[in-house]
């Protein structure tokens, strides 16, 4: 087993849901929605920093860009990676290639494994967010674990290291499960694991000096092509009435509200 103590964080520039745009026909206007570093991946980076103090290795970030066209997205993608570098990542690797956008999780997971091989990175821990804010499907970490035949701990809200052992708390629907496994391992984290702060100006300035590698599909082997097709995406329009209840006094407003609650049939007699 490698004992270099290296950590890999998988980080994704995701479509920013807060900046959603709609086409006239109600379709999602992908081209005009910017990308940002997926929120929960920030928690993974923060956790990598904490674990690095114990493991004493390097933190690599690996990013597979899934939204194209790359020429147009490049700035957003690089910003997301820059944020990782500013927040403690030591070296960043990015796959950018229009032939795999829009990507799917099959392609992403196989490309991550291919990059680990190409750069000969043998991490003790691979960390990532439990899901990304655009697709929210939460499956890349499990795929990578299976491909590398490594133990997988999903939905971790707490991680402790004890020598070569990881002890983690998995946050499930009805209970918290404390589990233990040996390094190396793949772990996905929840937003509750820590509270990352935005990088400082000095951190951002330092980031540009750190090594970054951009690879293309032709630099890698064994990357599976996407199998899922995004046939359609519609902006969810839940039309609400947007009526303001007003009155001369709060008493009057309260009366009007009670009337509405009665009409809706939620007040018992």
């Amino acid at each position: 087993m490698s004992t270099l103590g290296d950590i890999v964080v998988l980080i994704k520039p995701a479509l920013n849901p807060e900046m959603i745009r709609s086409l006239p026909d109600g379709g999602v206007d992908f081209d005009n929605i910017p990308l940002k570093l997926s929120d929960i991946d920030r928690n993974a980076i923060e956790e990598a920093n904490r674990l690095k103090e114990l493991l004493k290795g390097k933190i690599y970030s690996i990013t597979i860009s899934t939204w194209g066209p790359i020429a147009k997205r490049d700035k957003d993608i690089k910003m997301a990676i820059q944020e990782g570098l500013a927040k403690g990542v030591d070296e960043a690797i990015l796959l950018e290639d229009d032939s795999i956008t829009p990507g799917d999780q099959i392609t992403t997971a196989s490309a991550i494994v291919s990059i680990l091989n190409k750069f000969n990175i043998k991490p003790d821990i691979i960390l990532t967010g439990e899901a990304t804010i655009d697709g929210f499907s939460g499956q890349v970490a499990g795929r990578v674990a299976a491909k590398l035949n490594l133990p997988y701990i999903s939905f971790a809200r707490k991680i402790d290291l004890n020598g070569n052992k990881v002890i983690a708390e998995r946050d499930l629907e009805d209970y918290v499960e404390v589990v233990e496994t040996q390094l190396p391992a793949v772990i996905s984290v929840t937003r509750e694991i820590n509270s990352p702060k935005p990088p400082t100006l000095i951190q951002i300035r330092m980031a540009s000096k750190k090594p970054q590698h951009v690879v293309k599909l032709s630099d890698l082997t064994n990357v599976a092509m996407p199998k899922k097709k995004l046939a359609e995406a519609k902006v969810l329009s839940v039309k609400r009435k947007q009526t303001m209840i007003e009155g001369k006094s709060l008493e009057e407003v309260a009366d009007k509200l009670i009337e509405i609650l009665e009409q809706e049939g939620v007040l018992k007699h």
Partner: protein, 301 residues
């Protein structure tokens, strides 16, 4: 010949998953842990069982059956442990996997389904060829009647797990069942102290409502237990009325209330985004308004 492997614990889920399975072909089931196995035999001709219920064991069991039966579809209800187990099988064979899907349709070997996208702000339709793995969003599929009389087969997966479970701690619950609630009063960061939530609880008791909350109240401040938490990473609710106090209307919160019939927001900032996403809006300080509303409701009795 088996076409579909259904991974299921509860009868309510089986009746929905069977509807999906029948669109593809002949199903068998795998069940795990503490399941309603006798009832499941009504829905499937064969039910394989493992005693364990952790994602490693479920993964090994699904993998064993996948390799033995070669199904076109492996389907289950979305849950964290199944996401864990399915993603690993998907990884080994580079199979497509989609989570939290609904509106499943088949035409030949092509499959389409819908799922929520962009933190609940859009719906995507994906198209894919079988074989494939799916995890389904509960209560969005019609139920099928079960009229099988299936057999049970124990499946032994050996003790091959490399992740050891040390302990399970039940989550503390606030005793709410928001998914079934008709009237929800939901509280957000507009409350300044935990003690002030009493305003909302008193109102809810009087009005027969259950209490929901935004993420910060449960996750960051921990003023309420997680079963109160509504949104993308919390509960998805569908009450007749969702009445919110001091919640700004972040898209991740709205993702939990798209199926609410009537949304009413009370907020002291007239520019709060929630007013664009509410049926009725009231610009008021909750500290002034709730006591008045409570008093008026008391007078009604």
């Amino acid at each position: 010949m088996v076409d579909v492997l259904v991974v299921v614990q509860k009868e309510a889920d089986a009746s929905e998953l069977l509807t999906i399975a029948k669109k593809v072909g002949e199903p068998v089931a795998l069940t795990y842990g503490n399941s309603e196995i006798e009832k499941l035999t009504k829905y499937f001709n064969k039910v394989y069982r493992i005693k364990e219920d952790d994602p490693n064991s479920i993964f090994f069991a699904i993998k064993t059956l996948y390799e033995k039966l070669n199904p076109k579809l492996v389907v289950g209800m979305s849950s964290k442990n199944l996401k864990d187990a399915y993603s690993r099988l998907a990884g080994i064979y580079d199979l497509p996997l989609a989570t939290d899907i609904f509106d499943f349709n088949v035409s030949g070997s092509k499959v389409t389904y819908k799922r929520s996208f962009l933190s609940g702000r859009a719906i995507e339709t994906e198209e894919v060829t079988m074989p494939l793995l799916l995890l389904v969003s509960p209560r969005k599929t019609q139920k099928s009647e079960g009229n099988s009389n299936g057999s049970i087969e124990e499946l032994s997966i050996g003790n091959s797990s490399n992740v050891v479970i040390k302990e399970r701690k039940e989550k503390v619950k606030g005793g709410v069942n928001l998914e079934a609630a008709e009237f929800i009063i939901s509280v957000g960061r507009g409350f300044k102290n935990k003690d002030d939530l009493k305003l909302a609880f008193d109102l809810a008791e009087l009005a027969g409502a259950q209490i929901g909350c935004s993420r910060p109240i449960a996750a960051d401040l921990k003023w309420l237990t997680e079963d109160h938490w509504v949104g993308l990473s919390g509960k998805k609710v569908a009450p007749k009325v969702y009445l919110m106090f001091g919640i700004s209307g972040a898209p991740q919160h709205l993702a939990g209330i798209t199926d609410a019939k009537t949304v009413i927001a009370v907020n002291n900032d007239k520019t709060a985004p929630i007013f664009k996403n509410a049926d009725y809006g009231i610009v008021a300080d909750l500290y002034q308004f709730i006591p008045i509303l409570t008093k008026k409701l008391k007078e009604r009795h």
